[in-house]
Structures are given as structure tokens and as C-alpha cells.
Amino acid sequence: MLEDITIRVNGEPREVQGGLSVDELLRSFDLQPGMIVVERNGDILRRERYPEVRIAPGDSLELVHFVGGG
């Protein structure tokens, strides 16, 4: 069990377990990966890579989805 690391998620600093994949991270937030788009350090992450890409200390993530709008 790896120790926690600090990352930025949607503008807020967060302590998360080290070594998590993006997919695991989303699930840890109780989010369905299929409904979320992830921008990692300014680059959009293709969804099929969520399982393989692992969070690193200092990563900055934007987790976005569709909401009602006109």
C-alpha cells in the first residue's frame, strides 16, 4: 500500500493514494469514467488510457462532464 500523494483536482489540492490509475481515481470519487473527460496537466487524456495512466505527485487534473446549458 503506497503512501498518499498531493495532486490538484479541479483547482483544489487533494491527498490521494499514490500509484492510482486515472480510472481508479475516478472510481474513488464515485464517478463513472465513461461520463467524465479528464484533462491532465493541460492535455486531454483519451478515455481508453484511463486504466493505464497513473497519477503522479503534483499532477493537475480537470475532471469535467456535461451539465445542463443553453
Partner: protein
């Protein structure tokens, strides 16, 4: 009672970027009191295209807010917008995030120039439109009712130009039919009037200018009864379209009897 079952015979479908749409009305998904009310209103409107926005998930209560929990992407074309963006770069970033969701490469481009009126920054809109088209997007661009800007948007490859009827959320209706008519007359791409329509007669009047469709949100969401208003808007959009195609009677400042003037008794 009027039914629309043979409508295809009366009006060929609106086609944007090769996709034929079953309704000329597009609706937004913002500001409804409940998701249930929103879904019923969208259903009642008869639309096929609904706009959505890209926003951060709320990590504390995310399950509720995602629109995909309420709307079936198989049933509706979810058209992402770039509402809330004030620069070309920001709009392009939102468009790319929206496309990455995997539903469509269509985007309703909005680049706002002023927070108070939400009027578009036409220079930034043009720049963003060009970049998105070059990147393979199908761009439907929100703009003001300036013909010159509309022509430039068409020049850079816009799939549809979306001039406003009046400011977003104002409900002031179609203030300048002349500009909208002129834009429609000069462009080859579809013209969809976006923003400002407040009630059914506004929608009919707008379609009577010859435009290809209408996008609205507040008129439904803020009606006392969004479902009735959605049905009204669906009917009015079609009514205005058919009236345009039918070719209205001339206006005349004199009266003409509807009944025969001969055959009167002595």
C-alpha cells in the same frame, strides 16, 4: 385536429453538415426547475438536438448533476456549447473537452464579449471558428445579427450560423427581422436563430423570415408551464416554417370581401 404525420410532405428536413434533423427546433437544457420537467419539456418540443455545457464535476455531489443521467444520447443529439467563454483559446479548449466525451464533433461556439449583455465578441468568435474548423469540428456559431460577420463565419467554414433574435435570456423576441432576413438571403449554410425568442409568436415570426431553425432555452425553462410552452414552441416553429413556404397573402391597406358580392337578394 391538426396532426403532423404527413409533415415530411410539407417541409423537407433541415440538414446540417449532412445530418437530416426531424425538427427545426433545438432546445437548451439549462435552468429547469427539475430534470424531470426538463425531460418532459424536451419530449413535448419534438426536438432532436439539445445543447449541453461542459463543466467541472462537483466532487462532493456528482451523481445528481450530470445531464447524461437524465438524457439518452441515443435519442437526442447532445450539442455541446462553449457558453461562458470570453476568449477564442478558452472556447477552443472547452470544445476539445466536449469532443473528447465521444458523442459528437459538433460544437455550438459561443465567445462572449460582455458579461452584462452576453453579446458575442465577433472577432474572437471568428478566430475560434477558424481554429475549430481546421481541427475537424462541425461548428455552429452563435453571433449577433451583423451580415458581414455572418458572411465571414461562412467563409471560414462554419456549418451553421446562429444569429441572435435578442440577448440571451431576455425574451425580447425578434427585434430586427430585417437583419435576420438579410443574413438568410445572403448565406448558403443554414441559419439558426439563437437566443431571445420568448413565446410562440416570436418563434413563428422568426421562422417566417425564412431561416432554417431556432434554438431556445429560457423561453421553455422559465415558462410557468415548460411542457405546454415546449409543445407551443414546437408547433409555432413548424407553423412559421410552413407559412414561409406557403407564401403569405399580400398586406393591403384596404378591405376585400371574403363572400361573393353578386347573388344578393333584392
Amino acid at each position: 385536429m391538426a396532426t403532423l404525420t404527413d409533415k415530411p410532405l410539407l417541409d423537407p428536413p433541415l440538414t446540417i453538415a449532412g445530418r437530416a434533423l426531424r425538427s427545426r427546433l433545438m432546445v437548451g437544457t439549462g435552468k429547469y426547475r427539475t430534470n424531470q420537467e426538463m425531460v418532459e419539456a424536451i419530449e413535448a418540443s419534438g426536438t432532436e438536438v439539445v445543447t449541453v455545457s461542459v463543466r467541472r464535476v462537483d466532487l462532493d455531489r456528482s451523481n445528481e448533476e450530470g445531464i447524461l443521467h437524465a438524457l439518452d444520447p441515443e435519442k437526442y443529439l447532445l450539442l455541446p456549447n462553449t457558453a461562458g467563454c470570453y476568449t477564442a483559446d478558452e472556447a477552443v479548449r472547452y470544445a476539445r473537452l466536449a469532443r473528447a466525451a465521444g458523442f459528437t464533433d459538433w460544437v455550438k461556439l459561443e465567445v462572449i464579449g460582455d458579461q452584462e449583455t452576453l453579446l458575442p465578441d465577433v472577432a474572437a468568435t471568428l478566430a475560434a471558428c477558424k481554429e475549430l474548423v481546421d481541427d475537424g469540428f462541425t461548428v455552429l456559431a452563435y453571433t449577433n445579427d451583423d451580415l458581414i460577420t455572418a458572411l465571414r463565419l461562412e467563409d471560414v467554414g462554419c456549418a451553421a450560423v446562429m444569429p441572435l433574435a435578442s440577448p440571451i435570456g431576455s425574451g425580447l423576441g425578434l427585434i430586427n427581422p430585417f437583419n435576420i432576413r438579410t443574413i438568410k438571403a445572403r448565406l448558403e449554410v443554414p441559419v439558426i436563430v439563437d437566443a431571445g425568442v420568448g413565446t410562440a409568436s416570436d418563434a413563428a415570426l422568426t421562422m417566417e423570415q425564412g431561416v432554417d431553425g431556432i434554438l431556445m432555452n429560457t423561453a421553455l425553462a422559465e415558462a410557468d408551464d415548460p411542457v405546454r410552452m415546449a409543445r407551443a414552441m414546437g408547433l409555432a416553429t413548424e407553423a412559421g416554417r410552413l407559412a414561409y413556404l406557403a407564401g403569405r397573402m399580400p398586406r393591403r391597406e384596404r378591405a376585400i370581401p371574403s363572400s361573393p358580392t353578386i347573388g344578393m337578394l333584392e
